[in-house]
């Protein structure tokens, strides 16, 4: 099965550095509104607009479709940069890149999907993921909903799906949804379909009132859509998931968590410097050292796994069980480590860290990071990895 090879795009080419610089500009805007986005549980429209103005939603889209074709390493740098300013903005941007990457790497030569990529790049579309489903227990490899063909010998298809969560679903110009190939297909025989906003009705089915990542606006939705058969990607979804969606999800989510943890450590460091200036005889809290090594460990693992994935993508080879286990380990490890870093930062900053505002506030960072072990549950990933690791005998 051919994976469209994206240009290798040297991770530090001038174009890539330009995009990281643009991300820093957008991050400055995101930072100004992060507290308000969190407090009012609203979509971060200012930072999304800033990202669109700078062409950053097209980051992963290859040059032949009008994007810069950023690889996993550059995408990670951008995600971390944005997360230091606003976790919700970073996560929205990251989730969109994952959907766009699936289209870019698995369009299978479809001119319709290639046109969608061109539009997504030119108009800075936001693409949402509709993989979650009521009753599948968080396993994106099984579906209950199925693509239906109302009329025989007709190219029209329909889909009804109850998604337990669709991040920024109400704001997206397109949706990448998974479903069983036909009503007679087994749960694991899934396809992915790219649906335009105008073809879908999304009715919110739950209230969005979470502890953190509030700006991602991710309630459940009942999706009803009518589309053309040609909008269904020819590549089976299980292959899209293992080759692209899962690897890039784990890498970019981890990048976001690292950005949040970096910000927490930075605030704890600034607080410790202030304390030292005020009370020179007071030893610096050793918790700062612990936060530092935990973060460095997470950063090092992330860099290694991202580089390995980038090399794999450049060679267009398929994901092996060992690399799947590494990617699961990355997600679990970084989600837990970064949460530890933020907890330590809170201890270091004390009541100033406990406050919801102020330069040493760790509250929103911690609350955003608490989502990490839950978005795909870590216990599920550990169970999966326990089996995958049996295949690795070295």
């Amino acid at each position: 099965m051919t994976i469209q090879r994206l240009p290798a795009g040297a991770s530090s080419s001038p174009d890539q550095e330009l995009f990281v610089a643009r991300a820093e500009e957008a991050a400055a805007i995101a930072a100004r509104h992060a507290e308000d986005v969190d407090r009012r549980v609203r979509f971060p429209s200012e930072s999304v607009a800033a990202l669109k103005e700078r062409g950053l939603f097209a980051a992963v889209i290859p040059p032949e479709y009008g994007g810069p074709g950023a690889g996993p390493e550059t995408l990670s740098k951008i995600a971390t940069t944005l997360a230091r300013a606003c976790g919700a903005t970073a996560m929205i941007w990251a989730m969109h890149q994952i959907q766009a990457a699936c289209l870019a790497r698995h369009h299978g030569g479809s001119s319709l999907i290639e046109n969608i990529l061109r539009n997504a790049a030119a108009r800075q579309w936001l693409i949402a993921s509709v993989t979650s489903e009521r009753g599948n227990g968080g396993d994106l490899g099984v579906s209950e909903a199925a693509v239906r063909q109302p009329q025989q010998h007709d190219s029209v298809r329909t889909l009804e799906k109850h998604a337990t969560t669709i991040s920024y679903g109400a704001e997206a110009q397109a949706l990448l949804a998974t479903a069983r190939r036909t009503p007679d297909s087994p749960p694991t025989d899934q396809v992915a379909v790219i649906i335009y906003q105008g073809q879908a009705t999304l009715s919110p089915s739950s209230r969005w009132n979470p502890l953190g990542m509030k700006g991602t606006c991710s309630p459940g939705f009942q999706l009803t859509a009518t589309f053309e058969a040609s909008q269904i990607l020819a590549t089976p979804f299980h292959h899209i998931a293992s080759a692209t969606m899962v690897p890039l999800s784990h890498i970019l989510w981890a990048s976001v968590w690292i950005g949040l943890a970096e910000e927490a450590l930075s605030r704890a460091t600034c607080y410790s410097r202030k304390r030292l200036a005020q009370s020179p005889d007071e030893p610096t809290n050793p918790a700062l050292s612990e936060a530092h090594w935990r973060l460095r460990t997470a950063q090092a693992l992330h860099a290694e796994v991202t580089a390995a994935t980038a090399a794999q993508w450049a060679s267009a080879s398929n994901a092996a069980p060992r690399s799947s286990a590494q990617l699961n380990a990355l997600k679990v490890s970084v989600s837990e480590s970064c949460l530890d870093v933020a907890n330590l930062a809170l201890r270091i900053c004390g009541m100033a860290g406990y406050a919801e505002e102020g330069p040493y506030s760790v509250s929103r960072l911690l609350r955003d990071l608490l989502s990490g072990p839950l978005m795909i549950g870590n216990s599920r990933l550990l169970s999966t990895n326990a089996n995958l690791i049996l295949l690795d005998r070295e």
Binding site: G141, V142, S185, P186, P187, T188, D189, H238, H239, N318, A320, P321, R322, T384, N387, L388, L390, L391, R393
Partner: protein, 95 residues
């Protein structure tokens, strides 16, 4: 001395037993067509890993990473082909 077809049939039967034991396909694995796509019968990725390990343990072989793919384990015939290939490589190595 068994003929090659008899040896092939024996390998296939052992594979069917592993698939029956390790996957939700169960006893249907004994009679399913050798070219029937196992994933269409409802194997998921967890069951596929159990199946891969079961076959390695059954035959005392080790699949190289390049063969630990969905296409190798797509149907009974493809699994048997991969197993026979590995068994003959080992036989040549020890001969």
């Amino acid at each position: 001395m068994t003929t090659v077809p008899e040896q092939n049939a024996a390998v296939e039967e052992r594979i069917r037993k592993v698939v029956s034991r390790q996957t939700p396909i169960g006893s249907a694995a004994d009679t399913v067509n050798a070219l029937q796509n196992l994933w269409e019968l409802g194997i998921d990725s967890l069951a596929s890993v159990r199946m891969m390990i079961g076959i390695e343990e059954e035959f005392g072989i080790q699949f190289p990473e390049s063969l630990l793919t969905r296409s190798t384990f797509e149907n009974i015939a493809s699994i048997a082909g991969a197993v026979r290939g590995l068994l003959s490589t080992e036989h040549e190595a020890t001969a």
